[in-house]
Structures are given as structure tokens and as C-alpha cells.
């Protein structure tokens, strides 16, 4: 299944390459991997595994501001915002004992956010623990605006998914449960089949218009 909207990212990428080097012949990858439909099962598995009471639970512990304060740009791997013991071994059960399924952490007095990709068990491959706030030298880095919330195509229609699905195929992980960010927590996670109504349409890519060939 390749929807025109979801396929845009790949087309945009290839279009730029085509423009700059004028490639010819068939494209190397016929399958569109960008909408991550090939990993859509992750949502269903998470849905089956999550008790209904948990799906609807809410704590209000985390806000979108907290969420973005962990990241360098929308979609970057968040830092580890709490201390990790120096002897931290990278043993997969250490992080995933809390972050695989979530739940209340007495240590931090909060509900634990759930990772959307528990199959990637080498957590410190991407996530770092900060030990200082001093830079080595200054930086001229600039970021982009985060996706707007409630982006519906029509008044009252289900909002589109404003971010790419890569590493985040499992909607349940971030959008439901007591550890979810308050602003993006959904009220109806018990429906489960999220992409029945919500269409992936990254805010950073223009809506592609249909033209009859």
C-alpha cells in the first residue's frame, strides 16, 4: 500500500537527487519504506499487550515542553534526563525494565514514558546521559518549528500524523497511558487501529496534489 501523501517524503528525496544529477533508469528501491507500513504490526502488538485501563489512564506528568527539552530537533533521539549509575552496563533489561511497558516509578515519583521501539535494545547507541551543560565552543545551530497540534485537513476531521513514522510506528507507546505527554495523549486509544482514521502527513512535507497522467 502506497498512499500518495505518505509516499511524498521519498519522492521529494528522489526528486532532488534527480534534479541535481539527472539520473536515468529504474529506481533502485521499488518498495516505499518511508511510511513504515512494513512495520505496522508493531502498533497491533502493542495494542494487544496493553491493558485497557492503562490505555485510558492519565497522569498529566509530562508536557510537550518537557518532551522537546530533551531533543535537538523534532525527531532526534531524546537524551536520558535522569541519572544512570556509572556502572550502568547497557544490559538491555536495565532500561527496558521500566521503558518497555511503562508504569509508576517510585524512584522518580512519575509514570515512565514508553519507548516505541523496544526491539532496539542497545539504548545507549542513540540515547546519552548529560553530565554538564557547558559547551566546548558555542554553536550556530538552528532548529525548525515543532509540528503543530490538531492539524486536521477539514474542520473536525481526524488530525493527520504530523511526524514521520520511522522508529515511531507504535502509536500506543507515546499517545496513550499515564506516561504519555499530556498534549498529545489521545482519549480513544482503546480503538487501537489508529491509522484507520489518521493519515501520515509530515508537516515538513507539502501536500502532494493529484494529477491525472
Amino acid at each position: 500500500m502506497v498512499t500518495a501523501v505518505a509516499a511524498f517524503c521519498l519522492f521529494a528525496t528522489l526528486a532532488i537527487i534527480e534534479m541535481s544529477v539527472a539520473v536515468s533508469g529504474a529506481l533502485a528501491a521499488e518498495v516505499n519504506l518511508e511510511d513504515f507500513d512494513h512495520q505496522g504490526n508493531e502498533l497491533y502488538e502493542a495494542y494487544d499487550a496493553t491493558p485497557e485501563i492503562f490505555l485510558s489512564a492519565d497522569s498529566g506528568d509530562r508536557t510537550l515542553a518537557d518532551y522537546y527539552s530533551r531533543r535537538q530537533y523534532p525527531g532526534s533521539p531524546p537524551i536520558i534526563p535522569h541519572p544512570v549509575d556509572l556502572t550502568f552496563s547497557g544490559n538491555e533489561t536495565d532500561c527496558l525494565s521500566c521503558h518497555a511497558k511503562g508504569g509508576y516509578s517510585a524512584e522518580f515519583g512519575k509514570f515512565t514514558p514508553v519507548t516505541p521501539h523496544p526491539d532496539n535494545a542497545l539504548c545507549y547507541q542513540c540515547h546519552v546521559q548529560e553530565t554538564t551543560d557547558e559547551l566546548f565552543v558555542g554553536s550556530d545551530w538552528q532548529s525548525i518549528d515543532p509540528p503543530r497540534l490538531g492539524r486536521s485537513a477539514l474542520a473536525g476531521s481526524p488530525p493527520m500524523i504530523p511526524h514521520v513514522l520511522q522508529m515511531r510506528e507504535n502509536c500506543i507507546a507515546c499517545h496513550s497511558g499515564p506516561g504519555a505527554v499530556a498534549e498529545i495523549r489521545v482519549s480513544h486509544a482503546d480503538r487501537g487501529n489508529c491509522r484507520q482514521c489518521h493519515v501520515p502527513a509530515p508537516q515538513t512535507a507539502p501536500i502532494k496534489e493529484f494529477h491525472r497522467q
Binding site: 528525496t13 530533551r70 530537533y73 547497557g90 550556530d140
Partner: protein
Amino acid sequence: MTKIKGKKEVTMKLDRRRFIQCAAASSAVATAGALFPGISFADWPKITGNSGMVSWQKAPCRFCGTGCGVLVGVADGRAVAVKGDPNCSVNKGLCCMKGYHSVQALYGADRLTKAKVRKNGQMVEVPIQEALDLVAEKLKETKDKHGKDSVAIYGSGQWTIPDGYVASKLFKGCLGTNNVEANARLCMASAVTGFITTFGIDEPMGCYEDIDNANVFITWGNNMAEMHPVLFSRMLANRKRRKDVTLIDFATRMTRTSQASDKSILFKPQTDLAVANAICHEIIANDWVNWEFVNQHVSFHKGKTNIGYGTEDHFAFTDKAEPIDFEAYKAFLEDYTPEKVERISGVSAKDIKYMAALYGDPSVKVTSFWCMGMNQHTRGTWINNLVYNIHLLVGKISMPGNGPFSLTGQPSACGTVREVGTLTHKLPHGVVMNEQARKHAAEIWQVPVTNIDPKPTYHTVEMFRALDRGDIKFIWIQVTNPMVTMPNLNRYRDGALKDDRFVVVSDVYPTPTTDVADVILPAAMWIEQEGMFGNSERRTQHFAQIVDPPGEAMSDTWQIIEVARRLGFEKQFPWSEKDYIEKIWEEYRLFHAGPKHEMAPYSVLAKRSGVQWPFVDGKETRWRFNPKYDPACTNGKDFDFYGKKDNRAWIWARPYEPAAESPDSEYPFWLNTGRIIEHWHTGSMTRRIPVLNNAVPTSYVELNPEDAADLGVVNGEKVKIISRRGEVIMPAQINGRGVPPRGMVFVPFFDESFLINEVTLDAFCPISKQPDYKKCAVRLEKA
């Protein structure tokens, strides 16, 4: 032009620069306010007034030799985000922390954007064209006055393929000197000589798909969890999914790789040589030898012994191969019974037999991985040979999941240094000693064949010794940082600072190497130029120019072209800025024509996320020497080791010999150096990535907890590390992510504030000339 040189002056320069860095850092912190932990994107200035759209373009990652495909998000002409490239088979859409934040390395506040030249001891900004005039003038003047071998170029495996190609063409083809070397000499030269001596042809036979097929992974002195995390997590994912996968960590200290492995086996430094021989002894003693394979595809040889360590100037060594028979090889192994080797290595005979049984079991597929632990070794060529011996005895090679796999640490160590041949003895195809290779190169380069000198000159360590002695007076350093990475650094820094030495440095940020420069040329970085890298699995990866370089920054390739033209070589460097990368690639490809090394055309590279060579009839070669996958096999058998004249892979009788400098009563500790996951190479890029710097802002020395207790040092207290060459004082880390055994300390080398290479020893493998950064003797004091 005069300049004030000497060590004192350098110290002052460093101090002044550090002061500026500190000032910049504290003002950044003031801006960030109290938002600790971390500088988040919520606090960064936002690009304003753009469409809000982000476009994505493919590139290989800038950092290690894994060669992950990344998609760089661009908004308003700036790189703003990174995703893993799902079309790239290397990483299948997943990166590591360095890849995800790599684009931030473009935007450090102290990017070099203007050329600088030394005038009356001070570095003064000048237009880049004026600086290039000066470089050409000095190069010509030095060559005319002191001869062609008084000028040199030193690059790295971070050079793009076109960078290295034009450097070789200018220096070897046009100027006629073989003074071309690269940082990769310090990084994988032993891997090359290992391949050449065993197989007669360079680079791994396998590919990363081996990870999805092997049952047993043995990492030889290789902390893959931190150094090649994307490949390591692919092994972990396989272990989780397939349940029949075992990871064995064979190492000198406990690391994150040890923690994740099923079994960790520690050996004493340098004794990997003895253990590898003991494994072969066991394979033969238990008759696990694959006789069909050995009889058809293997021949036995021995070389010279007691080959020295190269610590003296003008050291020379040439190995001599003598054929031996299997019985002689078997007799050689009698010194390496598991029980005898247990006494040398500290590895129990039981563990040696266990590893031998894994290699020997015909029902399991075994992949061995290694990188710096085996390459940065005074017997680096030998230990590469010895691991090949194991795989060859049991015939586990050149098949999916079965193979020895030599990894690289730089993004184009293979592509630019090994394939283009930016080493003193090499040409893009063949070696300078070979007349046919010289003729071939002269023809493609359109230079008289007499231009190409048949005699190699200096390997890297000897090149910097020649600079110190004054045999070399002009050196151009591009994309690397030898004033952090050279072993026994004090000597080589003093050499570079001597009065009539002229040092040109092309780089993107100020480093200890730009501190010793007479000319600094601002370089375009990574995706600010078009280019190609070549990764560890023979994959060539093209990237278009995605963003503009800042100020007057210029690609290293174009800098060399500008200088070549000023020297009168317009004919050899005729390209236009519009399509020079394509033209250079198509010229370079001519060197590798034929099924053993055919490279993909530019049009294919431009559209795919990396293409493996040999690329024959539109198909990539995933496993070499195996006719099912490799079209260069012609002998009609099930394998064809076509690199050697006898069509066989060579098993070598290579003995255990001790390290160049071992601990004694005066200097009782081993010093081991290396990397950590957050920082790459000398940290000149990763330290400018806020999230990585903030995770590990300074280096440290790892101590065994009992040694720390004896010394009376607790975590964070200062320790003085002293060798016969130098000393450094740095904070202790005890029970951190790595734990050395008693009698060893480990120091990450990324931090220019703690130059651990002032302490290390410039001993090298006499065959590969690669220094050993993993072993020298030090003593410790509480500071």
C-alpha cells in the same frame, strides 16, 4: 616571513585559544539559562521566514567506517535534522547518537571560514586565493631548493575519494614524489598487509549480511558496542530473534561489549598471537581441519622472526616468504598447546579449547570481527594472518555468515586510502615498485612514466620523523589532526615547529594541528561538497552537495586543483567546478576496470544508497572468492583465491613475540588508548555537537578499582600518567563503562586538553608500519 616558534609559543597559543573557547562556552550557557539538563531544540534559535518544509537527501554518515546511510533534512539552506536511510542496507534506517546529531557538527561557532597565513609570527586572515598562491609558491620553492622528496602531503580516511585521488595525481604523478601518506596508516595499515600477505588482494571478502547469518560472533580486541554500535545492535537483534546466536568477547579489558556478550575472555596484551596459534593447534589436534578445503585452496608459508619494533629512525624491514608444508606448520604449533599458552596469555586452556571448538564445529557459522585492537599492534600483520589461519583451517570463509571481518574506523579508509592508494608505496592500482602499474598510472594521468618514482619514501611515522630531521620541509595536512594523534607526540610537534618547516593545514575547525600551521585553508565539510566515501564492506557511497560551505571554505579536492594549476598542471587538472567530481570519478574508475575491482559508474552511485564493488554487469559482489557470488572466480572450483599467483590463500607460521615496551618495576602499568561512543577520532567535530559534548565533556583515565585503592584515588581525582616519553594529568574513572584488569589503565584520546599521545610509544609493526597505541609502559602517581 618569520615566525616565532618553539614549545613555549605553542603553549601560549593554546592558552589563548582555550581562553576564547571558555568565554564562548560560558556565554552559551548564559543564553541557555537554567534549562539543564541539556541544550534542547526548544532553546535554539529557529529558522524564521521559511516555508516550514524540510527536504531529505541521502549521504553516508560522516563518522566511522560502518558507512551508515543517513537522510539529511534541509530547510532554508541549512541542515536541520537526520533520519536513518531505510534504503541503505548497512543500517536499514537506524543510526547511532553521532549520526543522529552529525549535522550539528557543521555549525560550531568557530568554523574556519577564511584563510589565514602566518605573518611575523601572527596568523592573519587573507583571501583564500592569496593563501593558495602562497602554498603553490612555497611548494615550488621548496622542491626546487631541496628536491622533490622535501615536499609531502598527509591526508586521511576522511578524505573523500576525489580528495585522495587528486592528491596522489599531483604528488606522485606530477611532482614525482611518493611522499603521500594518510592517517589511515595509523588505523588500518595492518589490515591491508594482513590481506595482502594472506590473500594477495585487499579488503574483506564478506559483507554486513554476515551478521544476519552467523551463529557465533567472536570480537577480537574490539569494543563494537561503542565503536561500531549500529553493527553491534544488529548482532544483538539477531541474537534476540534467532535464539541460536552466541557473542564471544575476546579482549584485554571489560567494556560494554563484554557486558552484552554471552562470554567475555580476557587476555594479556600482545598474547592474542599465542592464543590464535593455540586455537589452530587445537583444531589440528582434534582433526577439525576441513581437509577438502585446505588441500584445494590453502598453501603454507613462514616469514622472518625477531622483526623489531621500528622505534629508531630509518628503520627498514622486508619480510621474506618461504613455503613450508603442513607437517612443518604442525610442528611449529607444538609451542602453542593450550596449556603452554595459558601461562603466557592468562587465558585458561579450557577457554582456548572452547573457542577452538566453536571455530571447529562444522554445524555453526562463525564471523570474527576486529578493528584497532588487532591493527594497532607491533605484530599487527601477524595477528591478522593468524585469525585468517583459523578460518582457513576450518574452511569458514567467503560464505554468508562464515568469515573473518576486518572493520575500519574512518568513513573512507577503504574508499580513499586503500582503494585510491594514498600511501607511499601505492598507486590507484598496484604499487609504485611495479613497472606495469607505473605505466598504467602514467597513461591515465597523462604524465611521463619517468615522473613516477619506483621507490617508496616515508610511511607516516617516518614522514613526521623526516619533518623533524629536516628531510621534509613542506607538508600539507588535510582533514586530519596529527598533532593529537601521532604517538610520541612531543617529538613530532617540536619537529613541525622548527624554523624552516612550512606547514599547510586544511581543516574545518581550529585544532592543535592548525596551531602549528603557517597557512590554514578553510575546508568544506562533508555534505557542503560533493564526494564519495568507501566503507568497510567494499561499498562506495556518493553524496551530493546538500548545503553551501561557509565563507570562503573550499573542498579539499578543489584546493589541490587550484594549487596544481598554479604549478602548471592545467592539463592534468582540467575540470570545471560544475562537474569535477563526476569527471574525476570516471577517470579514477579506469584504474579498477575488470571483474576483480570494477567500480560502479557515477550515474549508479548518484542514485543508490551505496554500491558494493566489484560491480560487474550491473551486479554487486557480496562475497568474494566464492563463484556463487563473485564473477572474478574462474578456476571452476568451489572457491577461487585469485589474489595469489598459486590461486591459494596462505596460512602463515607466525610466532608470539613480546610487545615493544612491557611493564617493568619502574613503569608497572600497561597504557591502552582508544575511543568512546560519544566522540569520534580527535573530537574536533563531536565536541562541537552539544549533546555529545555535554554527555562526555572531558577525557579520563580508567583504573581498575583495586589499583585505584592502592593509589588512594577515588572517582574524579587527578592521576598523573608518566612514561619514558611524557606525562599527562587527568581525572580517574573507576567502575565506569570500562574496567581494565589490574595493571592496566585506559585513556580515550579524543580530548586535546589531555594529550595522551605525548605518553604513547612510536613503535610499529615492521611490515605494515602501523603504530601500536594499545601497549606501552607507564607509572601512576596521585596528582
